[in-house]
Subunit: 477 residues, 2 copies
């Protein structure tokens, strides 16, 4: 599609916002030209990446969740049942008011999230303690009427790929354990995308509307802002009471159930693109790359031999389940390198007459640029071992980038200084007033208390009172 | 979930409508209790079937199509561009008029189908003949404000699983060839679901709004009505002119492109359930069955041995990619048989102490009820060969059922008589007036001219004029 548009170079990643918008188009991830604000189109290449990413999350969840699907449209009366919940969403809900030419009797909300669509059914499905735990998920489109600046994959009016899980448990503690399990699953998921995430318990004023508490995972973006890329909510029995979800316990008593929900969206793809990409384009972790190996025949005279050898390598790699593209187009090798680098293909395989004479091929890593000649007889093993090295290197690089940008700070000016490049870690007494004051003074948000951190003693950066925990502070998307 | 509800027997399939509603609930396909008319909930088991069915269609399309995703919301001005198209849909469109508390500047339609969402982008994507053919598809939810009687999987207000392909070609003939290819793909897809379909060219008054012509595939339901389970539309250059989709041909001229679109919905699942099921419940073609083998341990005293052997069989089958459920619950074998028959599991494997002594297991076919004892050493091959026999038998049975219910008729009374059980095949002169009169008199629809049929000579059943083709007439869903 319109090759000529893609020849211009990317802006440097130092200008992150510009680079991001540009790479979505040049890397053929999203087209931003759809004629409604906040709605975007997945290019086939981008959607292929999305498929691989969501296959991963399905794989992880399928071990003890089941996939399902609930309607998009929620009748106003159900949607309005949970007071906190509706307060949190009412400004953002799209309303369907007409079918054909006629006004509807009951207005229908486009789900901003599906609690109020799912829980009336859970009331019917949950009867006895033997039905618990119930763990379902769906991958659906959800809608938010965002008034802030929208941004592809990050802040959308149609979230096209919302994976939301909804679980039901006998006790509050079971639900709490499920929240921890969700965060573990999400961390593992992001590990496969080579993205290190920080898990932290959101302050009370930033939890999910209707929840007892929220734990979120954040990724650190190149511009020093954090992107919330996963949330898990302990719903207590709040929704169970609203939607009358009760079960009969072992003693025959009717008891309110306890619930959790947790979600991931296409922000996972945004983080992947942003964290790994460079000035040459996308850089894909092999596990999810739509094309894992691009074979470039280096052709002078004896084209047939070389093309045949390339074809043979392609077949051999494909037989091992590797996603391969043989670029036999008329473009010059340099143009091909440019193209497949832009697309983030982890390994380029060059094969010319001289390689063929040695029964070898040249493998080039997208992440480091390193080249090595390897024997064709061993090509599958060599490629797979490179994949694993690349995956490790991407994660390690991202992890180092994250670690060095988390700075312990002891004063407001120090926080402000460090927020330019990353995350501040500070003592906070836990008091809401101090928290809000801190957010206001540094112009950033408290992400929350790190999930896996030992207690420690210090003085609140705001009031100088005793604090027994540190929190992350960051500029957030 | 609520086991007790499922113990009551199904109504006989002779009362098809009752049987259908009941099996959706008892077989845990769809829950019809969602509080909005025409919207239903996929049970996890039903969604698992849906996943397998849609994986099949993805597999078929991925050979030369690419998957993508466009927004749900279409701005009114784009939606209103193609006059015929909007006429066909305006009574059925849901409109979003409010975001949060505020009215929107431009009303947004929930896509009833995506031509008007996709083609403004195709205008940007198609530049030169080298970009053609372009073949994309998406699997999305679409919406129709149905005023007729709604029915799960068949007539919905939210079609949850609309697979729509949209292709662009250089010439009218290329597009026509793509329509034929789509029908070939759909026939192959339904072959894998063991469903024979009839392809026919819809009469002009029944084509897709905005198309040159429509070819559809229909399945014959147990009550003698046909269900349209796939359509392919030749759009000519109608939409290309409306949305200005032009390409530069080899001579450097700007030329309007030619387009097709073709769709399949969860009606594919409705047909599968309806055609194969029986009075005992669902009957799944092995290829898409969520559970392909249910292992039932027959336990008296030496339970451990038997359970271990069952576990071993399960592992061996799973290693071969077979979807297995080992039912080690406390229920009696009879209750287990009932349950897994209801769920349509193609093969039941019984294993008790006597079988174990012979190093054998009993395999029971869901379709014929036949039992055979087979050696455990060969279990994988035995099961796979049964799958293939079952798949063939389901198709053969359905095909015979279809063929014997297509009756050539020579008069209106004869047509009316035969429509009770199936499809009438009659001569029609092709004149619209005759066609509409025929539909009116027999209280049924002309499906259209069979796609793969030789010309033949006869007299129009309405006007007695010359007719060189026969058409299908049927009561339709």
């Amino acid at each position: 599609m319109a090759e000529q548009e893609k020849e211009a170079a990317l802006p440097s990643k130092e200008n992150f916002s510009e680079w991001y918008n540009d790479i979505l188009q040049k890397g053929e991830i999203m087209d931003v030209r759809y004629p409604v604000k906040g709605l975007y189109v997945w290019y086939p290449f981008g959607f292929n990446l999305r498929r691989n990413v969501y296959d991963l999350i399905r794989q992880l969840l399928d071990e003890n969740h089941q996939e399902t699907m609930f309607p998009l449209l929620i009748p106003e009366n159900e949607f309005m049942k949970e007071a906190e919940h509706i307060k949190g969403f009412e400004d953002e809900v799209y309303w369907v008011t007409h079918g054909g030419m006629s006004p509807l009797d009951v207005k229908l909300a486009l789900r901003p999230t599906s609690e109020t669509a799912i829980y009336p059914m859970y009331k019917l499905w949950v009867r006895s303690h033997a039905d618990l735990p119930l763990r379902l998920y769906q991958i659906v489109n959800t809608f938010r009427y965002e008034t802030k600046h929208t941004r592809p994959l990050i802040r959308l009016r149609e979230i096209t790929s919302f994976k939301e899980a909804h679980t039901v448990h006998a006790t509050w503690d079971d639900a709490a354990a499920q929240v921890d399990e969700a965060i573990r699953l999400y961390t593992e998921f992001y590990r496969k995308l080579a993205i290190p995430v920080l898990a932290s318990k959101r302050p009370d004023w930033d939890k999910f509307p209707g929840a007892d508490y929220t734990i979120a995972t954040d990724a650190l973006m190149p511009d020093g802002r954090t992107l919330q890329v996963g949330t898990a909510h302990h719903l207590g029995d709040n929704f169970a009471k609203t939607f009358d979800i009760q079960y009969e316990d072992a003693e025959g008593e009717q008891v309110y159930a306890h619930q959790t929900c947790y979600g991931i969206s296409e922000r996972s793809v945004a983080a992947l693109i942003s964290i790994h990409g460079d000035d040459k384009g996308l850089m894909m972790p092999p596990e999810v790359a739509p094309v894992q190996v691009a074979i470039i025949p280096i052709i002078f005279k004896k084209a047939e031999d070389v093309l045949q050898a390339c074809e043979k390598v392609k077949e051999e790699l494909e037989a091992a389940g590797i996603r391969v593209k043989l670029d036999a187009s008329d473009n010059r090798p340099g143009a091909k390198y440019y193209k497949w680098e832009m697309k983030g293909v982890p390994v380029r395989l060059e094969l010319g007459p001289r390689d063929l004479k040695k029964n070898a091929a040249m493998l080039v890593r997208r992440d480091t640029g390193e080249k090595q000649q390897v024997p064709l007889d061993n090509i599958k093993e060599e490629v797979l071992s490179l994949f694993s090295a690349i995956q490790d290197n991407l994660y390690k690089t991202a992890e180092q980038g994250l670690e060095k940008r988390i700075i312990k700070c002891e004063s407001v000016p120090e926080i402000k200084k460090n927020l330019a490049s990353g995350i501040a870690k500070v003592f906070w007494c836990g008091d809401k007033e101090c928290g809000l004051k801190l957010e206001d003074e540094v112009g950033a948000g408290i992400l929350g208390i790190p999930s896996s951190e030992d207690k420690c003693q210090g003085k609140c950066v705001v009031c100088d009172g005793d604090a027994d925990t540190m929190v992350y502070v960051a500029r957030t998307y």
